[in-house]
């Protein structure tokens, strides 16, 4: 299982990457994609022309379906939707192949940057996942 040092994580196995412009990119972790197995369908929130799409922390904002099961993806942060990974619905298996890269889900502009402090570091997340597999 791969955990990238520079990212932040949640107990629901999302990762968060802080961008230089203050926005954050969100995806699911290597552990998550491995548990899900072959990912066959992804549903992302829709961008709305000319209006803000608000995402709330701890609310489901995306759906990932693998052959085995459907999983909601809960947002680790509150914020405004800045970008979605348009390619993903056509190539959902990219999450299996490159969950920290081309398999990213959305980019947000956080409305409450303090929430970032509540996310787990890579070390803490690694320890957390290890504790699950015992």
């Amino acid at each position: 299982m791969e955990v990238l040092e520079e990212l932040l994580y949640t107990k629901e196995h999302e990762w968060v990457r802080k961008e230089s412009d203050g926005s954050v990119v969100i995806g699911v972790s290597d552990y998550a994609q491995e548990q899900l197995g072959d990912i066959v369908y992804v549903e992302l929130p829709e961008m709305a022309e000319g209006e803000d799409v608000k995402i709330d922390r701890d609310e489901p904002f995306a759906v990932i379906e693998s052959v085995k099961a459907a999983s909601d993806v809960y947002s680790p942060l509150s914020g405004k939707l800045a970008e979605i990974n348009d390619e993903l619905p056509n190539t959902p298996a990219v999450i299996n192949e490159d969950c920290y890269g081309d398999g990213w889900l959305v980019r947000l502009e956080p409305s409450n940057p303090d929430e970032l402090d509540e996310l787990m570091s890579a070390d803490d997340y690694y320890e957390f996942v290890e504790s699950l597999s015992v």
Binding site: G37, D38, Y41, V63, E65, V67, A70
Partner: protein, 350 residues
């Protein structure tokens, strides 16, 4: 690994999608030791089978098998099975793992009229392991260990010896592909598994788990007990009415089955192509975005790798099913479009 009817079962060895493709394009090996086996033997075994099962076991010669059903008195199903005639007075019934105890008790109680020695039922589930070898190259793999198997007929059953292991080799399966199921003593099951994998190592034979077994059988529209089949579902609703032979009025469930065939049934099993998302077991189906009453529900659904689509089977009110072309399935609160398709979704090339 998951718990399945008390068995620790592999859902997948690697990727379900890769295992599914391996079975369709080359061959897959399945550990299905969880399946139950019940033996019916004795002078009256044939008459007993003719009473217990909906298909007419009297038509089987030794070495032949067929798909059959255990019906209840209401015309619903206790289980679906494959019944193998090993000898003139000896049948082996392969039953679903979750139903072994129920089936055995039910078979006992409905064969009580036969004399004690005339029809002997034994639950041999702990005395048989079962390994399925399925796919277009299954015959080639099996033939390397026993050349005699190459000529085995569909739904035949014979004694065989594979890499020193004694088996009953049946040309049956649950994937929509050609292949074999090997009934083997539990102490020999691991040796047989390894010998088969070794024999097929240069033919892309791969171990395949329960996950691929489910997507393969779904594409082939093979019913699964607890999904398409159940105590309150008629075989005429579930597309297995062909396995009901109404030529024995003393057959269990005869009156209800005959009435269902005569009068028609309330529901029909249809195929769905899910155009957005994945529809799964239990999701309701609607005619329109604002319809309040569902037309029916999804009995099985998954993404299907060979089709490259999300497919589903659904039990739909017979009136609504006629001419139904499009519908909506409620996928966790959102009604998504589906197209009604013919069944099965997948037929192997001869």
């Amino acid at each position: 690994m998951v718990d399945f009817a008390g068995w620790e079962m592999p859902v997948q060895y690697g990727s379900i999608v890769a295992e599914h493709h391996a079975v369709r394009s080359a061959a897959g090996l399945f550990d299905v030791c969880h399946m139950g086996e019940i033996e019916i033997s004795g002078r009256e075994a044939e008459a007993c089978c003719a009473r217990l099962f909906t298909n007419d076991a009297r038509t089987l010669r030794p070495g032949q098998a067929h798909y059959s059903l255990l019906a209840n008195e209401n015309g619903g199903l206790v289980d679906d099975v494959i019944i193998y005639r090993l000898e003139a007075e000896r049948f082996l019934v392969c039953v679903n793992a979750a139903n072994v105890a129920k089936d055995f008790a039910w078979m006992k109680s409905h064969s009580a009229g036969f004399s004690a020695g005339g029809c002997v039922l034994r639950d041999l589930s702990d005395e048989f392991g079962l390994i399925a070898l399925q796919g277009p190259r299954a015959t080639e793999v099996a033939g390397r260990l026993d050349p005699g198997l190459v000529a085995a007929g569909r739904f035949s059953m014979r004694r065989s010896r594979l890499a020193g292991v004694e088996v009953w080799a049946a040309r049956t399966g649950y994937t929509g592909e050609d292949g074999f199921e090997f009934f083997v003593a539990p102490r020999d099951a691991v040796a047989l598994w390894r010998a088969l994998l070794e024999a097929g190592s240069d033919l892309s034979l791969a171990p395949a788990g329960l996950g691929a077994r489910d997507t393969l059988r779904l594409e082939a529209a093979l019913p699964l007990y607890g999904h398409e089949l159940g105590e309150d579902i008629s075989p005429f609703e579930a597309r297995v009415g062909w396995a009901v032979k109404l030529n024995r009025p003393d057959m269990v469930g005869y009156a209800a089955l005959a009435a269902a065939k005569r009068e028609g049934v309330a529901r029909r099993l249809v195929g769905l192509e899910v155009l957005r998302g994945v529809a799964r077991h239990g999701y309701p189906l609607f005619a329109s975005p604002d319809a309040s009453e569902p037309l029916g529900y999804v009995s099985s659904g998954s993404h299907c790798p060979t089709a490259g689509k999300a497919l589903a089977l659904a039990l739909v009110a017979a009136g609504a099913a006629a001419g139904l072309d499009r519908a909506l399935v409620d996928i966790r609160g959102k009604r998504r479009p589906v197209r009604v398709t013919g069944l099965p979704f997948y037929v192997r090339q001869a």
